[in-house]
Each structure stands twice: as structure tokens, then as C-alpha cells.
Amino acid sequence: MPESIPAPLIIDTLKDTFREARGGSTREPLGWILSVPDTHQKTVLAALDKERALRVVTCATEDEANAIGAGLWIGGEPVVLMIQHAGLYASVNTLRGVAMDGRVPMFYMIGLLQRERDRDPKESRHSMVRFAEPLLDTFSVPHARLEGPNDVHLIPEYYRLSRERRGPTAVLVGLETS
């Protein structure tokens, strides 16, 4: 059964991921979070509000987040995009144009709002949950599920993978963060 992941664990993992991306440097901001606020990850967003080591840019759309992320990466800054599955659907052209055609490493944390605890996402009653993984598969975007605290190691792994393959990767946040 999936479990909720505590926000502090995600924040600490993001900090470690960014420190590694900067070769161990601790200069601040450690990295950038581009967020189109996702209800599913609201405890993380609330914790980020108080966090000084990470800089958050709240974007009006996921399209913007993709293009801003490209600019930051070109300038040498580490970036994570926090969005919701609905935002993934809304921004596939930019994902294609920026992260895929532009060969820009882009790592997404995608909240699966309304994912049922007792059901595989691919069998969800909700289309926005059900189609997220097939859509990523269609675009050949490597992805993994964050199904509980033991899965947070996937955050740095998929972040690194996006750099190695010069393109998009994603983790899907299974249950609402706590």
C-alpha cells in the first residue's frame, strides 16, 4: 500500500540533490524550485515558504516553468519542477519543444491528485490519474513512482538521469504529502 511522504524528507532530499548537482558546493540558493502550486504537494510548498536555502519561483503555467527551467539550466543552475498531472497534460508541447527537442535536462515531480490508495494508478477511476504514466511513456519520458518514504532515493536518481540523458525525467508523487 502506498504511504504519504513527509514534507521535511522531500525538502532534505532536494537539498542533497542540489548539493550534489553543484559538486558539493553549499552556496545558496542551493537550487531552484519552479512550482505551479500542486494541492497534492501542498505540505512541501508550505515548508518551502520557510526555506531560505532553496529559491521558489511560482509560475502561472507549466509552459512557463519549462522555459524558465531551460534558461536556468543554460545559466548553470540546478532546477526541479513541481507540478500536477493536469499541468503535465497542459504543457506537453513545451515539454516536447524544450526538454526533448532542446535536449534540456528537466526533472519533474508530478502530483497524482485523487490517486486512490487501494488502486494502481493505471486502473484509477480518474482519467487524470490513469493517463499520466501512459502519456509519459508515449513521450519516452523515464518515470518512477514515489509510493512512500522509502522511495525518496528516486528523486536524486531521476534528477541525475535527466542530466545523463539530456532530457526529461519524472517522479510521480503517489499520495498527498504530509
Binding site: 511560482t58 536556468l72 543552475e77
Partner: protein, 191 residues
């Protein structure tokens, strides 16, 4: 009389110094000729993204000016970027809007609202530090030095005619991924 976009681009090319430029749509062919192999990156393949790409660059390279050459049809596709830019408040971002009132590449259909759309008011309302319109080339030349140095985010609506070339009539230039890599390497070398 509307300003020729090529005249604006020539003046910017001469005055920009080490600024990073982000052309899109009908400014791209002329800019390629005026500033080959320089610190530029075109918004290609995701229309409407120039302002956001420029914002990311401005945040990551705060010691350089970033100048976006946006289009009115393009900006309408991601109008929310005005608020996102104002919220992030990059002091080194100049957002130039080449306003011609039409979708030039597809046959010059009017943009929604045509020339009556007031982007200056939108930028001011979003929270840009300064926003104004320029409809005369002499006025543009007079103001250009401050456009490249004033504290941003700065928005300038430029009342222009149609460019001589469009990405449809003058194809070419590097693919986006090559521009990405090229600019990244140049910025890395520059430290």
C-alpha cells in the same frame, strides 16, 4: 509611422554589449544575420516561451542584461508570464515587445484585439518596474541606452511594421538544441 523592426534590431546589435538576447518568430531571421554566433538563443518550437526563457536566463546570470524580443501574438500565448516575471523581479531583464498587431507568419491575421491591445497597461498591472511604449525610431534610439541599463523588469512596447523576413520565408538557423548547447558553453567559459 511604424518603426522597421530591422532598424530596431540593428541599433540593439550595436549597443547591447555582452547582453544575452532572446529573439522569437519574425525577429529571428534578421537577428541571425545581424548577430551570428553570439550570446543569443531563439525561442524555436514553443511559441510564446521567449519571455519565460529570458526570465530563467536572467535569474541564472544576474550580472548580465537579458533582452527578450517578444511578439504580440507570442506574448498572448503565455500572457501569465508577465505576472511571473514581475513576481520574480529580475533586475537585469528587458522585455521588448515588437507589436505589429498580426500573426505575420500565417498570413497577417489580426491578433485578438488587434492593435488596440494595450500591453503596457498589462505589464504595469502585472508589476513590472517600468513599462512604456515607443512609436518613433528617433525616440527609440534616444531611450535605448536606458533600456539596456535601467533596473528591471522593464517592458517596452515597440510599435513596428512587418519584418522583411519571417521564419517561414527565411528558414534556417541552428536547431534549438544546438543553440542551447552553444549558449551554455559560452556562458560557462565566460564564468
Amino acid at each position: 509611422m511604424a518603426i522597421k523592426p530591422e532598424d530596431i534590431l540593428k541599433a540593439i546589435a550595436a549597443a547591447r554589449g555582452n547582453a544575452i538576447c532572446v529573439p522569437t518568430m519574425t525577429t529571428s531571421p534578421a537577428w541571425r544575420t545581424l548577430a551570428p554566433d553570439d550570446l543569443s538563443i531563439g525561442c524555436v518550437g514553443f511559441m510564446g516561451g521567449a519571455s519565460s526563457l529570458g526570465l530563467g536566463l536572467a535569474l541564472s546570470v544576474p550580472d548580465r542584461r537579458v533582452v527578450v524580443f517578444d511578439g504580440d501574438g507570442s506574448l498572448l500565448m503565455q500572457l501569465g508570464s508577465l505576472a511571473t516575471i514581475a513576481g520574480a523581479a529580475p533586475r537585469n531583464l528587458t522585455h521588448l515587445l515588437f507589436k505589429n498587431g498580426v500573426y505575420h507568419t500565417s498570413g497577417s491575421q489580426d491578433i485578438p484585439g488587434g492593435l488596440t491591445v494595450d500591453f503596457v497597461q498589462m505589464a504595469k498591472g502585472a508589476g513590472y518596474r517600468k513599462a512604456y511604449a515607443v512609436s518613433d525610431f528617433e525616440d527609440f534610439k534616444r531611450r535605448l541606452p536606458s533600456m539596456l541599463t535601467d533596473e528591471g523588469p522593464l517592458f517596452v512596447e515597440l510599435h513596428t511594421g512587418l519584418a522583411d523576413k519571417t521564419p517561414m520565408t527565411d528558414r534556417g538557423g541552428q536547431p534549438f538544441h544546438q543553440q542551447v548547447e552553444s549558449l551554455r558553453q559560452k556562458l560557462h567559459k565566460a564564468g
